[in-house]
C-alpha cells in the first residue's frame, strides 16, 4: 500500500508538472500553429525530465539531501546564491502563472472574471499547504488531474487522419508562413514547459521528506518512468486535438478558453466538465508544487529547517517563504498581466536556466565517493551528459531567439 501511494507522488508530479498552465498553453498554441511538427520537443523534454528527476531522486534517496543543499555544496556559496536567485525567480513567475491559471479555470466554469478569483485561489493554496496532509494532497489532485485523459478520448472521437498526424510528427519541418527562428523558439518553449525545474525540486524534496531508503529506488524509477511519460502523452494529445481542430480553421490560440474547445467539439458537455476539472486540478497542484518549491529552494540553500511534514512551528522560516512567495505571486497576477503571455515567457526562461540546477546534480550523481554503488551507470551517464550539451545549446539560443522573434510573434 505504501508503495502504491509512492507511485501516486509520481503521477501527481507528472500531471501537475507536465500539464500545468505552461504545457496547456504551449501545447495548444503550437498544435494550432505547427500541427505535430514540434512533437519532437515534447519527446526530448520527457526524456530529459526522466533523466533529471531519476538522478535527483536517486541522489536525494542515497544522501537524504535535496537539490539546493547539494548545489550550494558543489558550486560554492556565491555561485550557489546566483543559482538560487535565478531558480527562485523563475519558480516565482511560474507560481504567478499557475495561480492565474487556476483562476482562469474557475472563470471558465463561472464566467466571473479571473482577477476576482485570485485572492480566493491564493488563500486555498495556502490553506492546503498549511492544513492538508501530503498524502491527501497527492491523491486528491493526482486523481483529479487524470480527468485530463479526456483529451486523449477527444482525439479518438475526432477521428483524425492518423497517418497525417504521424507524418507531421515524424517529418518535422517549418510550417509554411512561419520562420525557422519562430519554429525553434516554440520548440524551446515546449521543451522548457516539459522540463520545468520545479518538478525536480518538488520531487527530490518529497523523496527526502518521505524518508526514501535505498529499497525505495525501484519506486523512484517507477514514479519517473510511469508518471512523467503519462504527462508527456497527455501533452501530445492536447497538441494533436489543437492541430486537428484549429489548424484547418486558421485559429491561433490566445486564451485558455480555446484550449478546451477541441474537447467540447469532440465530447460535448461531459468533455467540457472533465477538462475544466482537469485544468483546475493540474494548475492547482502545480501551484502547490511551485509554492512549496519556493520554500524548499531558499530553505535548503540557507540550511533552515524545512518541509511540509515538519510542524510549522519548527519550520517557521520555510512557511514564511512559502506564504510571502504566494502573496507576491498573487500580486503579480493581479496586475492583470496577460497570464498566457506570462506563461509563454516563463517556460522559455525556465529552459534557459535549466543547466544551473542540472549540472550540479549530474556531477553528484557521477561521484562514486558520494553515491557508492548507486553512481550513474555508463549508459545513464552518457545520456545525462548528452542532455547537458542539449541544455547548454538551448540556454545559449533562448535569449537571441526570444528577441529575434519578438517572443514568438
Amino acid at each position: 500500500m505504501k508503495k502504491l501511494l509512492g507511485v501516486t507522488l509520481g503521477i501527481l508530479t507528472a500531471v501537475g508538472g507536465f500539464l500545468d498552465i505552461g504545457d496547456i498553453v504551449t501545447a495548444s498554441v503550437t498544435g494550432a500553429r505547427f500541427r505535430m511538427s514540434l512533437a519532437w520537443a515534447v519527446l526530448l523534454g520527457v526524456i530529459g525530465i526522466v533523466i533529471f528527476a531519476e538522478m535527483a531522486g536517486r541522489v536525494a534517496t542515497v544522501s537524504h539531501r535535496p537539490v539546493f543543499d547539494l548545489v550550494r555544496e558543489r558550486v560554492g556559496a556565491r555561485l550557489g546564491l546566483a543559482n538560487l536567485l535565478a531558480s527562485y525567480f523563475i519558480n516565482f513567475l511560474t507560481l504567478a502563472a499557475e495561480v492565474a491559471g487556476v483562476s482562469l479555470a474557475l472563470q471558465l466554469a463561472s464566467d466571473v472574471n479571473y482577477l476576482l478569483w485570485i485572492p480566493l485561489v491564493t488563500f486555498l493554496v495556502w490553506i492546503v499547504i498549511w492544513r492538508v496532509k501530503f498524502e491527501t494532497m497527492e491523491q486528491v489532485f493526482g486523481l483529479a488531474g487524470l480527468a485530463l485523459i479526456v483529451m486523449a478520448v477527444a482525439l479518438w472521437q475526432l477521428h483524425p487522419d492518423w497517418s497525417s498526424l504521424w507524418h507531421s510528427a515524424s517529418h518535422p519541418e517549418v510550417t509554411s508562413g512561419e520562420g525557422a527562428p519562430t519554429y525553434f523558439y516554440f520548440g524551446i518553449a515546449l521543451f522548457g514547459a516539459t522540463m520545468t525545474p520545479y518538478e525536480v525540486f518538488f520531487f527530490s524534496s518529497g523523496a527526502v521528506e518521505e524518508h526514501w531508503q535505498r529499497s525505495d529506488l525501484i519506486l523512484n524509477r517507477a514514479n519517473v518512468y510511469l508518471g512523467f511519460p503519462l504527462g508527456g502523452a497527455l501533452t501530445l494529445s492536447l497538441m494533436a486535438i489543437s492541430a486537428v481542430v484549429f489548424a484547418p480553421m486558421n485559429i491561433t490560440v490566445e486564451h485558455l478558453s480555446q484550449a478546451a474547445l477541441p474537447t467540447v467539439v469532440a465530447v460535448g458537455k461531459i468533455g467540457l466538465a472533465l477538462i475544466l476539472i482537469g485544468f483546475f486540478a493540474a494548475t492547482f497542484s502545480a501551484a502547490l508544487e511551485t509554492a512549496l518549491s519556493s520554500g524548499y529552494t531558499i530553505s535548503q540553500y540557507f540550511g533552515w529547517q524545512w518541509g511540509k511534514l515538519v510542524r510549522p512551528k519548527e519550520a517557521a522560516r520555510f512557511h514564511v517563504v512559502v506564504l510571502v512567495s504566494l502573496i507576491g505571486a498573487a500580486l503579480l497576477a493581479l496586475t492583470a498581466i496577460d497570464p498566457v503571455k506570462l506563461t509563454e515567457y516563463t517556460v522559455v526562461l525556465a529552459a534557459a536556466a535549466l543547466p544551473l540546477t542540472y549540472f550540479p546534480i549530474l556531477v553528484v550523481a557521477n561521484d562514486p565517493d558520494f553515491m557508492g554503488d548507486k553512481v550513474n551507470s555508463r549508459l545513464s551517464n552518457a545520456l545525462a551528459t548528452g542532455y547537458m550539451g542539449i541544455l547548454v545549446v538551448v540556454s545559449v539560443a533562448t535569449i537571441p531567439l526570444m528577441i529575434a522573434t519578438k517572443g514568438g510573434a
Binding site: 536567485l85 490566445e254 458537455k269 519578438k406
Partner: protein, 159 residues
C-alpha cells in the same frame, strides 16, 4: 573606501540581472509602429484580418456547440467574449495606423467593414451567451461563417 561585502555584491548583481530581464522583455513588446509604405500597411492589414479570422472561427465553433447543446453557458460566454475582445482589439489597433497613401486608403476601406461585421456578429453571440440563450447564439453561426469567408478571401488576396 571599503570593498562591498558579498550581500552588496549579490544585490548589485540582482539589480543588473533584473534590469537586463526588463530590457529583454521590453525588446519583445510589439508597439504599433507606423506604416510608411503600402507594403508595410498591407502587411498590417493582413495580420489584422488573420487575427479577426481566428476570433470569428473560434466564435463559430462556440456557436456550433451551442446549437448542439454541447456546452455550458458560463464557458461559452467567456469563449465568445474573449473572441470578441480579440477581434475588436485588432480592429482598433489597425484603425489607429495612419494609411500612408491613397492606395492604402482603399485597402482600409475594404477591410474595415469586414472587421466591423465580424465584431458585430461576435457581440451578438456574446450578448446571447451571457443570457444563456443558446438558440440566439446558434443563429449567429451563419453570420460568423459569412464573416469568416470574407476575411479568408481578404487574407488570400494579400499574400
Amino acid at each position: 573606501m571599503t570593498e562591498p561585502g558579498p550581500p552588496a555584491v549579490a544585490v548589485r548583481r540582482l539589480v543588473v540581472a533584473a534590469t537586463a530581464l526588463g530590457v529583454l522583455l521590453a525588446a519583445c513588446v510589439q508597439p504599433v509602429g507606423p506604416a510608411r509604405t503600402f507594403d508595410s500597411y498591407e502587411h498590417k492589414a493582413k495580420d489584422t484580418a488573420e487575427t479577426a479570422l481566428s476570433a470569428v472561427q473560434t466564435g463559430r465553433l462556440g456557436a456550433q456547440a451551442a446549437k448542439r447543446d454541447d456546452t455550458f453557458a458560463p464557458y461559452l460566454a467567456v469563449l465568445v467574449s474573449e473572441a470578441e475582445d480579440e477581434a475588436s482589439s485588432a480592429q482598433t489597433t489597425f484603425d489607429s495606423v495612419q494609411p500612408p497613401n491613397d492606395k492604402s486608403d482603399n485597402l482600409r476601406d475594404n477591410l474595415d467593414p469586414l472587421l466591423t461585421r465580424a465584431v458585430d456578429a461576435l457581440s451578438q453571440a456574446r450578448i446571447a451567451a451571457r443570457r444563456a440563450d443558446f438558440d440566439e447564439v446558434a443563429k449567429q453561426e451563419p453570420k460568423l461563417a459569412k464573416s469568416a469567408r470574407e476575411l479568408d478571401r481578404f487574407v488570400e488576396a494579400h499574400p
